[in-house]
């Protein structure tokens, strides 16, 4: 209504008051959709004059034309200049001969010479005037000429045409005055011819260039359109589509190969993400269901403060477990993104291992296990102390939970003679079958045998992520019986700062 009010004030109340006709197409959802559609169509259909190839051709063409123009300009000046000089030379020579004739034979012979020349001139470009001391014409085909020595340009106004002359005036002995002239028309003709030729050549170059531009542009456009079509399908969800690769190795082929590689990577990441999302959806549903059942049961059966309190406490505990799972997932994702490498610093690894062993001693004791340590003191590693602590804690926790009750757990840390360190956690429990070893490092993966024990199935996934972040090689092996988890830690160069920054670069974990 706002624009209409303004029209009303302007004294044309009838025009906009018809409903429906004053609607701005962009204001209605339908109109907007229609606009968007046409816009998309316009954008999607490639026009050959919008292609980069065509624009580049045009630019190239423009520059070529400019060069041609400059060149023909120079040629033009040079040619016509030469013709004019020739003309002047001719006039000078002729004039010289006539002056000679005047000296030798007097004005009479000049008159004869002039008449002979005029008679012999078929082209009609030679002009002469011999004027007496009183200015009267003695001979020649010029009516009159200024009596001044030297070069000058003369214009003859004929019946239809105006003739331009290049004339040389020379005073002769005896008071007579000689003017010899030549028509400049041939030079002008030459100029005109040159100009026309330049025009033709330029036009041809322009036409050919345009044609070439169109051809090249269309070729490039076709290839780009083919790539665009495939990528559009990928965008629409058909992630498996790939660009057709040709034999060649031009920039388009290289680009196509690169795009295919990127698509492969994207597809891989998407699959991994989907796997994780599925896992999360599945594994979070279980505790959420438990929580719901608990609350449901409390709602139906709980009587009295104590029962309600118990139900609430149970629900809180259930929530905490859920939050723990979320925290662990988030942490794994964060570690996997590698964002933490900037915070690497040297720390006493021996001390960390010792502390982890101490922290896990009570549960081991509760299961009647001996938690032994064989730790070389004073070993310094570079990394994220908190993450390494948590990684070790997860490993020992795993060994305590899944090791044999009453068994032995060994935590060892030693430097290798060839450099670097090796850290191992071993138990004498049932171990992990060789074929299942890669699987247990995945999120939420739990061996069937382990399902009865409490846990989120995320502990070893975090271990794998932290190991990868630190460039440690993680191997699960057979302890005969039991599981041995071995971490090979790369050597730390003496300079901690250098080692820290080396962690940012492509470390051994990428090779």
């Amino acid at each position: 209504m706002r624009p209409r009010a303004r029209t009303d004030l302007s004294g044309r109340p009838d025009q906009p008051s018809r409903p429906g006709c004053a609607v701005d197409p962009a204001a209605s959802p339908v109109g907007r959709a229609a606009l968007g559609l046409t816009h998309a169509m316009r954008r999607d259909r490639p026009r050959w004059w919008r292609t980069t190839a065509f624009r580049i051709t045009l630019l190239h063409l423009g520059l070529t034309l400019l060069g041609t123009l400059a060149l023909s300009g120079v040629a033009w000046w040079a040619t016509t200049g030469f013709a004019l000089r020739q003309l002047a030379q001719d006039v000078e020579q002729d004039s010289g001969l006539l002056v000679q004739a005047a000296r030798l034979g007097g004005p009479g012979s000049v008159v004869l010479s002039i008449e002979a020349r005029i008679a012999a001139d078929r082209s009609g470009t030679q002009y002469y005037l011999l004027a007496g001391p009183d200015g009267r014409r003695l001979a020649g085909n010029l009516a009159a000429a200024p009596r001044a020595a030297g070069w000058r340009r003369l214009r003859l106004s004929g019946a239809e045409v105006e003739t331009e002359l290049l004339a040389l005036g020379t005073p002769l002995p005896g008071g007579t005055f000689l003017v010899v002239g030549r028509a400049v028309a041939p030079v002008r003709q030459l100029e005109g011819f040159l100009l026309a030729a330049a025009g033709w050549v330029g036009g041809a170059a322009l036409l050919l260039g345009l044609l070439g531009g169109v051809v090249v542009g269309r070729g490039v456009t076709r290839r780009a359109a083919a790539m665009d079509a495939v990528l559009a399908r990928v965008e629409a969800g058909e992630i498996g589509h790939r660009l057709l690769l040709r034999e060649g190795n031009d920039e388009f082929d290289r680009l196509a190969r690169r795009i295919n590689t990127v698509l492969d990577r994207v597809q891989g990441l998407m699959q991994a993400l989907r796997q994780v999302t599925d896992d999360i959806a599945h594994d979070l549903r279980t505790p959420l269901n438990r929580l719901r059942q608990r609350l449901d049961a409390a709602l139906r059966t709980a009587e009295g403060d104590a029962a309600w309190r118990e139900a609430t406490e149970g629900a809180i505990a259930e929530c905490e477990q859920l939050l723990d799972i979320f925290a662990a997932l988030l942490r794994i994702a964060q570690v996997e993104s590698g964002a933490r490498r900037a915070g690497f610093a040297p720390f006493n690894l021996s001390e960390v291992v010792e502390t982890v062993a101490e922290v896990h001693a009570p549960p081991a004791e509760a299961r009647g296990q001996r938690l032994e340590t064989r730790i070389e003191p004073g070993i310094v590693a570079v990394g994220d102390r908190d993450l390494v602590t948590q990684m070790l804690s997860n490993l020992v926790d795993n060994a305590v939970k899944h090791g044999r009750a009453g068994g032995r757990i060994l935590l060892s840390l030693a430097t290798r003679p060839e450099g670097g360190m090796v850290l191992a956690v071993s138990d004498d429990g049932p171990g992990v079958p060789a074929e299942a070893r890669p699987l247990v490092l995945r999120r939420f993966h739990r061996l069937d045998a382990a399902r009865a024990t409490p846990g989120t199935g995320l502990g070893l996934a975090l271990v794998a992520a932290v190991a990868e972040l630190h460039g440690m090689a993680l191997t699960l092996g057979d302890n005969g019986p039991g599981l041995v988890v071995r971490l090979d830690i790369p050597a730390v160069s003496g300079n901690a700062a250098a080692a820290g920054s080396a962690g940012d670069g492509p470390g051994p974990e990428h090779s």
């Binding site: 942490r331 964060q334 922290v359 001693a361 509760a366 994220d384 102390r385 948590q390």
Partner: protein
């Protein structure tokens, strides 16, 4: 009978909201430490529900609480240094928590600050402490944990004049000679037990949560879900307790531990 809330500062007869003895009605202030009965706290938190929860709990615990809902108001209120402790969310409108604490520290305001935040990712804690905060607590949190940490922050002794000998009742710890005696009798402690006792003695009379101990004594910034704290506390108790003498280390169910002289 032992009063499990006795250590909770500032209202001795209170315990935390999860404890059975929790009472929202203010109780008469105990005779001990009459000058420190309450502390003035500023909460900078944009989530109304969390802010309400914290304000209610702290008010019921007898503290004076002000609140600000964005970083700029928080900075304005805190800049005169009139608060004893600040509770700051990290993600705040207008000025984020890190910026707030940095600005305060740059302006020379030394009020202890605790980050209470859902940002508990790798490195976030370090970043928070580097910005000038004194403690970092991730959401979700147990109220008892927040209360204990705030009390510890508000009553933190000044850095100057570090004592070389800590004393609680007849228990004495010589920090230079690394020796502990009770009633003049020497007690042999393992290094970890010594660190644990030192941590407790420095916060004598205050509630110390399990998480605080894991962080302060073991340098563990996550919960390994083992009974290591409980085991060490009971081992320490066994070493400290003597026939006929009152116990010094008290367990507060649902809250933590407290080392204090017998009443």
């Amino acid at each position: 009978m032992e009063n499990p809330g006795a250590c909770l500062h500032p209202r001795p007869r209170h315990t935390n909201p999860y404890g059975k003895e929790w009472s929202p009605v203010p109780q008469p202030v105990g005779s001990r430490n009459a000058l420190e009965i309450w502390v003035k706290i500023l909460i900078v938190e944009d989530d109304t529900e969390t802010a309400d929860y914290v304000v209610r709990g702290l008010t019921e615990a007898g503290h004076v609480v002000d609140r600000a809902s964005d970083g700029r108001d928080g900075l304005f209120l805190a800049s005169d240094g009139s608060y004893d402790v600040l509770v700051v969310d990290r993600m705040l409108p207008k000025l984020d928590g890190l910026g707030l604490v940095r600005a305060l520290r740059a302006a020379g305001v030394r009020t202890p600050a605790l980050f209470l935040t859902a940002r508990t990712g790798v490195g976030d804690r370090v970043e928070g402490l580097e910005a000038g905060a004194d403690d970092y607590l991730g959401k979700p949190f147990a109220f008892a944990e927040l209360l204990a940490r705030l009390n510890a922050l508000a009553r933190r002794p000044p850095l100057s004049g570090e004592p070389t000998v800590l004393r609680v009742a007849d228990l004495e710890m010589d920090l230079l000679r690394r020796s502990v005696t009770r009633g003049g009798q020497r007690i042999e402690l393992q290094p970890r037990e010594f660190r644990l006792l030192e941590y407790l003695m420095r916060r004598a009379g205050q509630v110390v949560t399990r998480t605080m101990l894991l962080e302060g004594v073991w340098d563990f910034h996550f919960d390994p879900k083992t009974s290591v704290v409980e085991t060490h506390i009971s081992r320490l108790r066994a070493k400290l307790d003597r026939e006929g003498a009152p116990p010094l280390i008290h367990t507060l169910r649902g809250a933590g531990y407290c080392l204090r002289a017998p009443d």
